[in-house]
């Protein structure tokens, strides 16, 4: 052995809670080879790959990758640019709102490639892998298989020394799969080492396709967290005296020896009307025709296979048959009834399994099955038995209480299938049901399908990329570019093409249809990037900025809400919230009804602050009307009020004020006191007694706002409020979204640092929020006529520093939340309260006590509000506001630092 092993495992263990995923692995993986990792679903393959890639935190044992310890942060940073990792799942680390080209360019920037180098590489890779015609298509519009190809492109962008692929060809059609492996071979052949000399790339692949495994140089067979066998496929086959790797694999498994041979009894039509009957079924999306005049007749009890390259329209056809999509033209009948008209009753007879996992990932396996049994109205007893039967049949018993989210791909597929079968449907529409499922489980699944079809007359319509499965179908159809190329029994199709195998027949049919593109023979000699890994790279940061901007620009609705929303709210709050209270309701109870009592009441009646309600009848009426909130104050004048005044006897007016809303009560109190004073000082009332003039005058000066008009405080305050809310919420969602949708993996396994990631994502939102500020600033000037009395430069600088802080606030929230719901709620609840209550908008900051004071002081608006109000209303300039600005400026670094602490660079 000359080359040291590329990966060295020493007694590696990994647990998920109480479940042991890896149980003491020790192994040297030789360098420069194609290494296959095979094993049943859920035995720890993905965990092992994620650990090698450095995406997961190492728990116990040792992993050396490329000659260094992967547990060391420094080493991870060093080798990161030399490793590529493509996680499991259809396009999980890709961005649905970016085009094919933009996705690849994003990764090119993440690896710090220059614009020119990136462009050459992106173009070359797209051509090699056959994605060039789709360069401008959004990733969300790609079929599952095309997403896998794109994922590979993204993984290969930086010529890695070690390529780690987790089930890369699951759900990919045979032709594309062939191209895929050719491409990987090419890459390996032309790969260069860091010194520029030729050095074969090491590839580690987990796969469920045994035909693929057969072609690899070195295989690792795993089961239940342990290694069963290692060696070249030849050696493994020899050791188990098997003919194929699939047989060898099965023989290695503890329960594999007893595997019964799958026997498919011949199918006989009962001559009844077809269960599925489609005529001229067509679906267009704009100018693109996804499904083009498809005719299908599928008889009762038939197992009908649907084959075709990725993106050829299989899924669309199936969705039209289930009624999920409406056909653009043509007709589809299920059980002799049109799909739409069949409605609820028809749905009871159909079981559907979609391509992507579409069950509730937050429910456990058993809860998912129970829920579906209930929705299909199975009797409780029947449901219990059925669920138990299906769990046994699909080997899910051990996972009954596991969350669907935590299941490996193969087990999720089994669960989806079990769910589709729970109600005993007459027709099963299955979209790639066995993708990613291990061979043993696939055979069990087929045994079930055969039983359903032959013994119970269930019709099965399924799509598949496994040729050995297609060969088991009664009839198959081959589809390409929305059209059906051929239909017949597998034997007929092989014969018609004069081919040896179904796979060859399939490829030859596709090549005739012009679908196949010859893969380019030689890889483009792209300039090499010397592996350098600066601590902070502007290019990598900009990768996230550009991505975020692209996504925003793809979403004009979000962009316009983000600009218009705060403007609209400012309009509403600026005009709507005032502290100038008027139209207060009051009612009188005049027990005197004299000149004096009427004069007293007219002081109140004449005030624009009050609206009089019908007079009060008695004490009971008074209480009821106060309780019901019909009046907010009552004035009761005692009998003999006028007489007493004339005589100079003391008398007393009785006032009740509704205290339910303290501020309003205070205001009413103030108004009524001054009305009372006016009455007393009225010369007509004072009559004979001249009042002694007050010994001193009290002059109240309302500064900055002589008219004491609340708009001058409210508008600047509302601007500060809007700039706290919107940026925080958008920012909070921006990061947690990547966590929820899976693309956070890119942070784990590429050289991008957390700081680059955070700042790159924050930058666009700072710009957006600042644009909001400018819009609202102009509104204040021209719509509200609130003049800017102070300096604009201080205000604008303050706003910039402020939005950096509020987006930072959102960033912290999204660093510790896991779901978008929690982030959205968290950002709102943690912003609104301190913003409206504790940062000086309603009560001056100095007067706030208790917990609110702490909240207020830890919230940036407390420091921006004086800047905003100061610049607008108090006429202040830079020098006056420097103190507040300095405090405000502290938030950004502190919040970014906090986010850095909370955000992990590895998965737990």
């Amino acid at each position: 052995m000359t080359a040291p092993p590329v990966v060295r495992l020493r007694d590696l263990r990994h647990d998920y809670g109480r479940t042991r995923a890896l149980d003491g692995l020790s192994l040297d993986i030789p360098a420069g080879l194609m290494v296959g990792l095979v094993g049943p679903d859920g035995v720890g393959k993905s965990t092992l790959l994620a650990l090698i890639a450095g995406a997961k935190i190492l728990q116990d044992g040792g992993v050396e990758v490329l000659g260094g310890d992967i547990a060391l942060k420094k080493w991870r940073g060093e080798i990161c640019p030399r490793i590529a990792y493509m996680p499991q799942g259809l396009g999980k680390n890709l961005y649905p709102d970016l085009t094919v080209e933009e996705n690849i360019s994003f990764f090119s920037r993440l690896y710090g490639q220059s614009a020119a180098e990136g462009a050459t590489r992106v173009a070359g890779l797209m051509r090699d892998i056959g994605l060039a015609p789709f360069a401008k298509r959004l990733c969300s519009q790609l079929s599952g298989g095309m997403k896998q190809k794109l994922g590979l492109c993204c993984a290969l962008i930086h010529d890695p020394a070690l390529l780690i692929l987790d089930e890369p060809t699951t759900g990919v059609d045979p032709l594309s799969r062939r191209q895929f492996w050719e491409l990987v071979e090419n890459m390996r052949a032309t790969a260069l080492g860091p010194d520029g000399a030729a050095a074969a790339m090491s590839v580690i692949v987990a796969t469920a396709y045994m035909e693929e495994a057969q072609r690899f140089d070195f295989l690792i067979v795993m089961n239940e967290g342990r290694i069963l066998a290692t060696g070249a496929p030849r050696e493994i086959m020899a050791a188990t005296s098997a003919q194929t790797i699939e047989d060898a694999f099965v023989a290695l498994l503890p329960n594999g020896a007893a595997r019964p041979k799958l026997i498919i009894p011949p199918w006989k039509t009962d001559g009844g009307p077809p269960v599925i009957s489609a005529r001229g079924l067509t679906k267009t999306f704009g100018a693109f025709t996804a499904v083009d005049h498809v005719d299908l007749d599928i008889a009762r009890g038939e197992i009908f296979g649907f084959l075709g390259s990725n993106g050829c329209g299989k899924t669309t056809t199936m969705k039209m048959l289930t009624g999920l999509l409406e056909a653009s033209s043509g007709s589809a009948l299920l059980f002799g009834q049109s799909v739409q008209a069949g409605g609820i009753e028809a749905r009871r007879r159909v079981g559907y399994m979609s391509q992507g996992f579409s069950l509730y990932s937050e429910l456990s396996v058993r809860q998912n099955l129970d829920l579906h049994a209930r929705l299909f109205a199975l009797a409780p007893q029947v449901a219990r038995e059925k669920v138990a039967e299906l769990m046994a049949r699909f080997g899910l018993e051990d996972y009954g209480d596991a969350l669907a989210a935590d299941l490996p791909l193969g087990l999720r597929q089994r669960l989806s299938l079990a769910v589709a079968l729970v109600h005993g449907p007459d027709l099963l529409i299955l979209d790639e049901p066995t993708s990613g499922v291990d061979p043993l489980a696939r055979d069990e699944f087929w045994a079930l399908l055969i039983d359903l079809s032959r013994d119970r007359g269930v019709t099965i319509f399924m799509s598949t990329h496994f040729m050995n499965e297609a060969a088991r179908c009664d009839r198959i159809s081959l589809m390409d570019s929305g059209k059906i190329l051929a239909t017949g029994t597998p034997a007929e199709i092989v014969a018609a093409q004069g081919a040896n195998t179904l796979e060859d027949a399939f490829i030859s049919l596709l090549e005739q249809a012009g679908a196949a593109r010859p893969p380019s023979a030689a890889r483009l000699a792209a300039p090499k990037t010397p592996p350098k890994n600066p601590a902070f790279s502007l290019r990598r940061m900009m990768a996230y900025t550009i991505r975020e901007v692209l996504e925003l620009s793809r979403d004009p609705i979000r962009l316009s809400y983000a600009i218009l929303g705060p403007a609209l709210l400012l309009l509403l709050l600026g005009f709507g919230i005032t502290t100038d209270v008027n139209s207060l309701t009051f009612a009188a109870l005049d027990r005197d009804n004299s000149f004096y009592s009427r004069a007293y009441l007219s002081e109140v009646r004449g005030s624009s602050y009050f609206l009089e309600q019908p007079e009060i009848i008695d004490g009971r009426d008074l209480i009821d009307r106060m309780k019901g909130g019909k009046v907010s104050a009552t004035i009761e004048i005692p009998p003999g009020f006028g007489r007493d005044i004339k005589k100079g006897e003391p008398t007393e007016v009785s006032v009740w004020i509704d205290g339910a809303m303290p501020f309003r009560a205070e205001t009413i109190h103030g108004y009524l006191t001054s009305a009372h004073q006016q009455f007393i000082n009225d010369p007509a009332i004072r009559g004979l007694k001249p009042a002694a003039p007050a010994a001193a005058a009290i002059a109240t000066r309302f500064r900055y706002n002589q008219s004491f008009d609340s708009i001058y405080a409210m508008v600047p305050g509302s601007i500060a409020l809007q700039l706290a809310l919107m940026p925080a919420i958008l920012m909070a969602l921006a990061i947690v979204r990547e966590k929820e949708l899976g693309s956070i993996t890119n942070l784990y396994v590429t050289p991008v640092t957390r700081l680059e990631f955070l700042l790159g994502k924050q930058l666009p939102y700072i710009v957006l929020a600042f644009a909001d500020f400018l819009v609202m600033f102009l509104m204040a000037l021209y719509i509200f006529n609130v003049p800017l009395k102070g300096g604009f430069s201080a205000l604008a600088l303050g706003a910039l520093v402020y939005v950096a802080a509020t987006t930072g606030f959102g960033m912290v929230i999204s660093a510790f939340t896991k779901t978008q719901i929690a982030a959205l709620f968290g950002a709102t609840i943690l912003t609104i309260l301190p913003a409206t209550m504790f940062s000086g908008m309603s009560t001056p900051a100095a007067s706030i006590t208790g917990f609110g004071r702490i909240m207020g002081q830890a919230f940036p608006m407390t420091y921006f509000l004086p800047i905003c109000v100061g610049a607008f209303t108090k006429g202040l300039h830079f020098a006056d506001l420097a103190g507040h600005l300095a405090k405000l400026a502290l938030f950004f670094p502190v919040l970014v630092g906090l986010s850095l602490l909370l955000l992990r660079k590895q998965e737990k």
Binding site: G565, L569, I577, G628, I680, L733, S842, P844
Partner: protein, 375 residues
């Protein structure tokens, strides 16, 4: 068509799924807990509705006995201890917002006062501190007048007030902010949470493709939407009840005048409306960020303009009438009438009627929208 029984069963089982997902998200659970406990406590302590801890300073240019008395007259809890400042600093201190009020006592004030030359006390008020400035200016005027009157009565006999005004405050005699702000805090948390939980539950199903899965089953869009509405309403109703019992009554020891069940009944009516709004917004938004923005546009005005924050009487008439169309306004009215004033159903039924009518309309609208977008 399936039986009505099955419809309700489907709604029930789909709803239990909502409850399960909610209980699974610990961070969300923590945030809900916070918003109905810590957040309520913080608001109760805020004293935002009263004159409390107002920052005041006195520039005493006289240095006499009277001016000394005037400088000491501002007492807690209404005022923070008055600070002494020099007259020259007044402008700068007002500019940086160090004090809301600064009293300026001119030189020779006492001499002029006793000599009957009517000197002028100047009270500087920072008018940008709206609420506090308004209430405080009145208080200060009253306090100064009283104190000066007391000072003069050393020489003169006090004149008994011939015509008195006896003001009593009903339902909250000491005008304690906490009584008001704690319950209003619960209402504002309710609105926010209801819209977000229901709306986000719908968007999440779409983003994860699970709605598609449901639609191929014998489940109608009505059932899916209604399940989200009841389940999320229930979560919040429980939170409201717990918060009222343990936080408002327990920790804050605030007396509740009326019937808690009647209030909770009002809350249930309101929740049907608020969760419907959430579902409705989710049918407009395609993604979670869009929902977040739409949510802001709806929830912020709903909360701030419902009369639970500033009085309805302070809004322009047009807006005030418009807000009568918002169930939030009626819910605030119900809460105030029932919890503070002890009103029974006989007095608040018009608000219930309005909430039911508008809420029902929105429920129908959101389910109709949900059906049309989910096909």
């Amino acid at each position: 068509m399936q039986s009505a029984m099955q419809t309700w069963l489907n709604i029930f089982w789909l709803g239990t799924k909502e409850l399960r997902s909610f209980l699974r998200d610990y961070v969300l659970l923590g945030l809900v807990l916070y918003s109905f406990s810590m957040a309520i406590l913080a608001q109760a302590q805020s004293h935002g509705q009263e004159l409390y801890n107002a920052a005041i300073a006195v520039a005493d240019e006289d240095g006499s006995e009277l001016s000394g008395r005037l400088a000491r007259v501002f007492l807690p809890p209404y005022f923070l201890p008055a600070q002494n400042v020099s007259a020259g600093e007044i402008d700068r201190l007002m500019d940086i917002g160090a004090f809301t009020f600064i009293l300026d006592i001119p030189p020779n004030f006492e001499r002029d006062f006793l000599g009957g030359r009517r000197p002028t006390l100047q009270v500087n008020v920072d008018a940008t501190a709206m609420l506090q400035a308004g209430i405080g200016a009145g208080y200060i005027q009253q306090i100064l007048s009283d104190e000066m009157a007391k000072f003069s009565t050393r020489q003169d006999r006090p004149e008994p007030a011939a015509i008195a005004q006896n003001v009593r405050i009903a339902f909250n005699p000491n005008l304690v902010t906490a009584w008001f702000s704690s319950v209003m805090g619960i209402i504002s948390s309710t609105t926010m949470l209801a819209i977000i939980l229901a709306g986000a539950a719908v968007v999440r199903e779409r983003e994860h493709g699970t709605v598609e899965h449901l639609l191929v089953m014998p489940v109608t869009p009505f059932e899916i939407a209604f399940a989200k509405i009841w389940a999320n309403s229930l979560i919040i109703l429980v939170a409201v009840a717990l918060s009222l019992t343990f936080v408002v009554r327990g920790l804050l020891a605030i007396p509740i005048a009326g019937s808690v069940p009647l209030f909770l009944c009002g809350a249930a009516f309101y929740l049907f409306f608020a969760t419907s709004v959430g579902v409705f917004l989710a049918t407009i938004a395609r993604t979670m960020p869009q929902l977040g923005l739409l949510y802001l546009l709806v929830a912020v005005p709903l909360n701030l303009l419902s009369g639970g924050n500033t009085p309805l009487e302070s809004m322009p008439p047009l807006l005030r009438n418009l807000m009568q169309l918002s169930p939030a306004t009626h819910f605030v009215a119900v809460a105030q009438a029932v919890l503070y004033r002890g009103a029974g159903f006989d007095l608040v039924w018009p608000h219930f009627l309005a909430m039911t009518a508008i809420g029902g309309l929105f429920l129908a609208l959101s389910i109709w929208r949900f059906r049309s977008v989910s096909g």
